[in-house]
Symmetry: C2
Subunit: 162 residues, 2 copies
Amino acid sequence: MAMTESLDPERMACWRAYIEASQRLFTQIEDDLRADSELSFADYHVLVLLSEAPGQRLRMGELAGRLVFSPSRLTYQISSMQKRGLVARESCPDDRRGSEAVLTAAGLLTLREAAPHHLRSARTHLMDDLDDAEVACLTRVFERLGRRLGSDRDASSTPADK
Amino acid sequence: MAMTESLDPERMACWRAYIEASQRLFTQIEDDLRADSELSFADYHVLVLLSEAPGQRLRMGELAGRLVFSPSRLTYQISSMQKRGLVARESCPDDRRGSEAVLTAAGLLTLREAAPHHLRSARTHLMDDLDDAEVACLTRVFERLGRRLGSDRDASSTPADK
DNA sequence: GACGCTCGGTTCAGATTTCAATGTCACCGC
DNA sequence: GCGGTGACATTGAAATCTGAACCGAGCGTC
């Protein structure tokens, strides 16, 4: 049916391809991850962010923002990882309302072990298949998109702490 | 170290940008949809697929395949939509094991009403921001990806056999 | 130094999703 | 025909996610 009043055919096809392929890719990545580690994609992502943070610790809110998680989802996520010993929860010294998640040794180890598998899966499913121009294009598009949607957070100045 | 030979920095940045921006976009699209209709993105997607299918009906399995849903998730999804009167469930004449989802008049109406809003949100959050070269690039990349990831269902190049 | 306000996180109830069975049939070889 | 095998879909229980209500600070005002 033609409800194309709003989106020209090229863009419509693009949108659809993007949605469907991404869905497939995400579930594939998730399955791979679960297959060769005990982690969900969310778990993995948390570990990565913590491992890169100074002191390997992050405030809940900060973490939620970067993961694009609702506050309550993050609470649940961290509790779950805490039970499994991947992270610890500490109350924040500066602000007694807040708490922060801290990477444990076990968490780091788990990440180190999972990373090669995960990265391989990212490569074989997507990245290896892209030529340099495509990589450049995707990077440009999605960084722009991320900035426009994520609004403020860490954005502009950056690269001292990666 | 093995970790760096897995993904060069450009591709790593690309991968990250893609993941994060997509996450943000999907939640944004979902929120928009819920704001101006009573539909989730899954609901909407079901309606679109059914509206395009011959007889506005599809087998459960076929639908699950295209939505990238697990069978049980689809069962739940359709039950939920059935309760709301958007689709009906009929048992398949050819194969008595199977059933098919059929679009109702109310479902079609709901789709017609939701579509403009949804498409506008797709445009404003992403598509309007892309130039033609970017559209072409994304389309090429994601159609390729979709094909590579188990979507030998419908369309493109292989009619008649599957 | 109590009041009203907002903020960071958590909690609880309910909705959704997964995972492992299960039930019903189709299909194949005999 | 008849049993074995496997496909299609559903179910039930457990895991996860969402959204609203909540608690315990910070923060400003008077």
